[in-house]
Symmetry: D4
Subunit: 159 residues, 8 copies
């Protein structure tokens, strides 16, 4: 197994279905990762301890998914200097269709940014992590560039 | 000075102007309080330590004001069993006129509620704290009841 | 049966399904309650009489659920000095996905606060009531603290 | 002075400026009215008593202005069988630019309608009252028809 | 059959299902009505001619339902001096969950009001029409008052 | 003066300031126009007559600006087969910051489209009219193409 | 087959179902078209080349459908002087019910307008294209006028 | 001058005031950058050429600010494999207070992510770029860590 360079976290095991696309995408590019569910509101001290261990064990990018009050990505960003990618999640309890989660995640104070992607866009969070890691990993950069070229080749005509 | 029974917190000294109405209101009913500014995102460990000390030193109710990603009230509720009253704050940077802060504060997971009041409604947070404290303080309950009766006496006619 | 310390009210029998979670949660902590359905708009005088009797018969906290124009929690707060917890409810007729009910409930004039929780969050209303009652009930406080510690023990790993 | 056929009510004396346009408009058509400020949340019993007296003293239409949680028009409709016209009001404290007040006022349960007009549209509330009263007052109907014809005569060309 | 005192109009035959509740409600109080579907945008001249005939044939109140751009109630109000009650309708094509239709209908210029009720609230439009007609019809007023008293008798207890 | 090929209409003389940019832009490309203010709600019959005369006197494109309930562009489209360009206008009375006007104008039934441009974007309405007229006017097409090329030449560097 | 005068484009083959209504409508009026799917974000260079060829091969109007970030219609408008009609599309991933796509498409800078129609309103985009082409095609204008007259003949009565 | 590792782009020179905070922040950490204004809609070919040159001349991260239809960050992401950070900008013409720009920027298709930060949050875009570059630059990582520690030292007490 590849050494984990990315950590994926979310607050509830019920988020695993959506957030699982991040791991699938990282696998596709051969990027190792770890994945965990810890609630920022129900297990706050456990969360803080887990975040403190990320950089020491070689994690470079953190992907954090959250819905409703959606504090997890911001709290993670407060406790680490690593870049944090936030994934707004929807649920049946959401008041504003996911807009609420986007705004909770994206509106951070200066110095504690969260790189926000689209609603439930766990795959895009992983693509972004790949782009970030590619800056210092030429082989990964080449794999991503090849994949992008394949994507762009397609035209469908319907006349 | 009265022993502090309420703690008031917010993330930035620039919130002092709006949140100051909470203290003014508590004073009006003779309820002691302490007031502090700690950022949940810039000084997260300081915040956790401060919350841990609240119950031991006799605080009964926490009033937390926050805008933008507005994680402070929820994080406070995660670290204490005391009732937490959340005040959504607006700022010139707000994307959705305060709705974003309301939704960040009110949409908490089961078991970690935040008692949310209106936008910038620091005074109402204090009135709510007075109502809560009145349940075990008959003299305070009487002062609040008297004040409410005075409020309700008014009718203005314009014919 | 435990003496009722909390009253639960909502405007329509069709709200019983969602609001029933409040009673279930109070039961879990051994807190007695009463539960009733009275429409603020169809039976306004009945509602006023019912509210007037709450404090005299020992109720300490009122939980009020409402959707659509959602006036019930505020009207209740206008007629009692007890703390009122408001639960915004959704329905198939709702125009703005529950945002409308949140705003109707949370935006109260100074001196008449409603402690608002999340959409359909009847359980969280009950947890908040437990926190408020715990301030003057050490045994209840201990039960709540124990439950919270159990909640926070969980970490799920998916590597 | 003409016998009052319309009553105008709002929750705060600070609403008098906007709501005053209703009276000005009624005067223009010679319709008598009374105007009063009573808070639905701060003086709820006074409000109920005042509403009970409307029909007995000959009032036919009630115009009620309200902002924020905006319960006043609905509460009024709950306590009278007269038609109630609701005017959503904005204020600097409004979370959603007046949409919140519109939704609080317009979303009433079956059997208790409020005839809602636009934000701060006190004049239109009065025009609507005139239309309603015109159904049984041919002279008033004629005055309104004449005024409408004058309005429709105007075309402005800018070439 | 009772002489029609109310006219009900909407833009598409597909609105008949929702708008049909208006007629059912009027029937319940013995109020005669006529009901028609004419599109304001596809048959604008037909609409204008139909509106012109309302007052001459004894119609006193017009109920107009509309969704999407929702111009029908306002256009009707522009072409008649009778009071117009607007019912915002939703459809699967609606962009903003019915808020768009509410705002199209309620935001009328001074002198051309539309009495707006809730989303799909055709029954409430009819109740409002009954209230308006009751001002000059004591027997109808008595039927409505009796019905309201029956509504208000209900309390449901769940202890 | 050039023969008018475009007509510009709006509901109130107070819209002339914003809508005037349409005429300025048409002048810049030598396209003749006429401009008028007629209210769809206050002078509906005048409006219908005016629209009926457009095609007969050689108008090819209609630009219609409207705010609030914003029915004018749709009504115009209902009464003519010419392409209608709608400009959503804001005002101090607008409930939803111009979104309401956009949705009123853009959500038309099949067969009666309105080509909607941005809020207060009268200039863009004129540019669109120029593009439409250019399809059958090679000289105008050339003037527009030249202007576009000049626009695209600019790069500003700030290092 | 008729010579193509309209081109229809969208970003994903999954949009074909909704956007197909544009072609069906153009066929109904005998207007030739071509239809293609190219992603603005995945195949940007292919898109630019395709747009460059439109005017040279006789295309007069471009219909572009897009959802989510919805950049396609605006990018198309940036690369051609032909009139571009934009169709906001919804999807299960949309954050704001299609409002987001409307705003992305309609809010263009001066000189690069997109003629925006309603959500998923591919048919209306085609009707608008027909109106534009009718300005220089009398036979097409006559077919459209005939079709509109047939539409307006319908009145449905339900008494 | 430091070799440029970050490029900053926005569509209009009028954005320079807000976006200038990105450069100020990068300077503070000794990170070289270049800054340019090119409109995605008015100079699309110039933009594509400029993006193509970024990676060859050593740029590692692109910061793109945009308002209104806000296509620039997504278009940039479509034309480069480098990580792109998007800054939603507001303007007086914005329909939805910046929400529209957030949604245009954040809702990208899979494989073409944009790392979105808050409204007008150019400084946070730069902090995020610093975090990304720190992954392969230990000295920069140390400067950022030191700055974060200084930020977190502050507590303000107001008793």
């Amino acid at each position: 197994v590849a050494q984990a360079r990315v950590a994926i976290i979310y607050g509830s095991p019920s988020d695993a279905n959506v957030m699982g696309k991040a791991g699938v995408t990282l696998n596709q590019f051969g990027v190792g990762y770890e994945e965990v569910s810890i609630s920022a509101h129900r297990a706050p001290r456990t969360l803080v301890d887990w975040i403190a261990g990320l950089a020491p064990r070689g994690i470079e990018v953190l992907i954090a998914g959250a819905g409703l009050s959606a504090a997890l990505p911001g709290i993670a960003a407060a406790h680490t200097d690593l870049p944090v990618i936030g994934v707004p999640l929807t649920s049946s309890l959401t008041a504003a269709g996911g807009l609420d989660a986007i705004l909770s995640i994206v509106q951070m104070p200066p110095g504690v940014p969260v790189a926000t992607v689209g609603i439930n866009a766990a795959a895009n969070a992983a693509y972004l992590a790949v782009q970030v890691l590619s800056l210092s990993d030429a082989a990964l950069a080449e794999r991503f560039a090849t994949w992008r070229r394949e994507q762009s080749a397609r035209v469908d005509t319907f006349d």
